[in-house]
Symmetry: C2
Subunit: 231 residues, 2 copies
DNA sequence: CGCGGCTTTGATGTTCATCAAGTAAAGTGG
DNA sequence: CCACTTTACTTGATGAACATCAAAGCCGCG
């Protein structure tokens, strides 16, 4: 149930100042006409592995997960993107097809801009090109760094990472509603669902966090950071 | 012992057709004047974590490793770059300092092109910009894919990966001289040195490979590929 | 020649996934 | 709206996968 709905003009978009700040009024108009905004309900697929890539996808609001389906039909989550992240990583330049699937994990609005238009502006507007690449490079670099951070840590460190990730990076609050299931947490940080639960319970008993289903509150961020750092 | 030695003109460089094929003769001349080529002996550092990034680094010949030093002074290898790979990943756009260290694991020649020149050409030559990004995106994407491939497999699958990586991707031969130590293999695929050796011995006993120190010959590539695929 | 680093094998212990079993929550169809 | 089914969550017990420790041989290098 993808509701296509053109919203405000790009020039009023709160994200204009982010990725598209270096486009002229004229260029912005072109994008405005050609762009599509789609609303996705939590759980809906935005794209699937193997889909043709024809658009640059920009997350306006919400939260999405980027994942890969393994041979054994298990899912492996690569990253979680938040507003102002471009989604789909660098595939848009190096592949013609999506190499990951993307699903909304919260109600989300994604802005699709035809890839040819983006490429045209890269060619014709150098300042935009540089700035644009700085931004998408940062996202890719951060994915690499995160994968390493997670895989060099053991379970307690990984759970600490996830808690800090949502608390600090995504919600900016010690209290938050975990947008993904325990199973998805497991798929994101390479551990079994049971152990995700076990370590969370352990942290609760140690008064590091408080849990009520999906509602989590970080009680002792300092100690959590220490656990993360020590691995 | 970095031997700086200007070699042939860029326009005769065998790699011109690769990353710089879309530059005009004029533009290539600018690069030619400003570039520096350096020779590194096996084991020498090309750059260290924290170094200022001022150049785009392009591997002409040899082999280098990209790694990070952990808190406990252990090293973790992110990737191995081969000729025609640009080294340093996307940091050049998203950071001002190197986030990884780079060391030659075989005698190597690295070509340094001032970053400002690259950026200038990105701004002024759109075709070059697009092509350039396609290439560096592919390298970053491949690093992400590899990290996932490795971390979703267990030890036998990881060793199979390494053997196939060097045999097919790096040397294009079933016989090759492993350029890194067992310890470094361990650092690259997240396992202990002892288990690297153990699995290699196991593979030798199973007639999958033949080993004499660093000399390795893949005897049964089909079975090795199967082990890799099954994890 | 002797020292340190790399390599190898075996023994031991820890970390973690898997299995099992039960409860709670969330869809689904009549 | 309620029985029904499925999916998510939780805890304990077990075993497998893997790191770590220990010891010894090997090789290159100053």
């Amino acid at each position: 149930m993808e509701l296509a709905h053109k919203v405000s003009n790009c020039k009023d978009c709160i994200y204009r100042s982010w990725a598209f700040k270096n486009l002229s009024a004229e260029e912005l108009k072109v994008i405005n006409v050609k762009k599509t905004e789609k609303f996705y309900r939590k759980g809906e697929n935005i794209c699937l592995e193997g889909d043709e890539i024809s658009s640059f996808m920009y997350l306006q609001t919400g939260l999405v997960k980027l994942f890969k389906t393994e041979l054994n039909s298990k899912e492996h989550i690569i990253s979680i993107a938040k507003p102002k992240d471009f989604i789909g990583l660098l595939s848009i330049f190096s592949n013609t097809k999506q190499i990951y699937s993307i699903t909304a994990i919260e109600d989300s609005i994604v802005c699709f801009v035809n890839l040819e238009i983006i490429k045209k502006f890269i060619k014709t507007n150098g300042i935009f090109a540089i700035d644009f690449f700085e931004k998408i490079s940062a996202v890719s670099d951060s994915v690499i760094k995160t994968r390493i951070d997670i895989n060099t840590r053991q379970l307690r460190g990984r759970i600490a990472y996830i808690l800090l990730f949502f608390s600090k990076h995504i919600y900016g609050s010690s209290k938050f509603n975990l947008p993904i299931s325990r199973k998805e947490v497991a798929e994101l940080i390479d551990m079994s669902t049971e152990n995700v639960i076990r370590v969370l319970s352990e942290f609760r008993k140690d008064n590091l966090i408080q849990i009520e289903g999906k509602n989590i509150e970080v009680l002792d961020i300092k100690r959590l950071e220490k656990i993360y750092e020590l691995g």
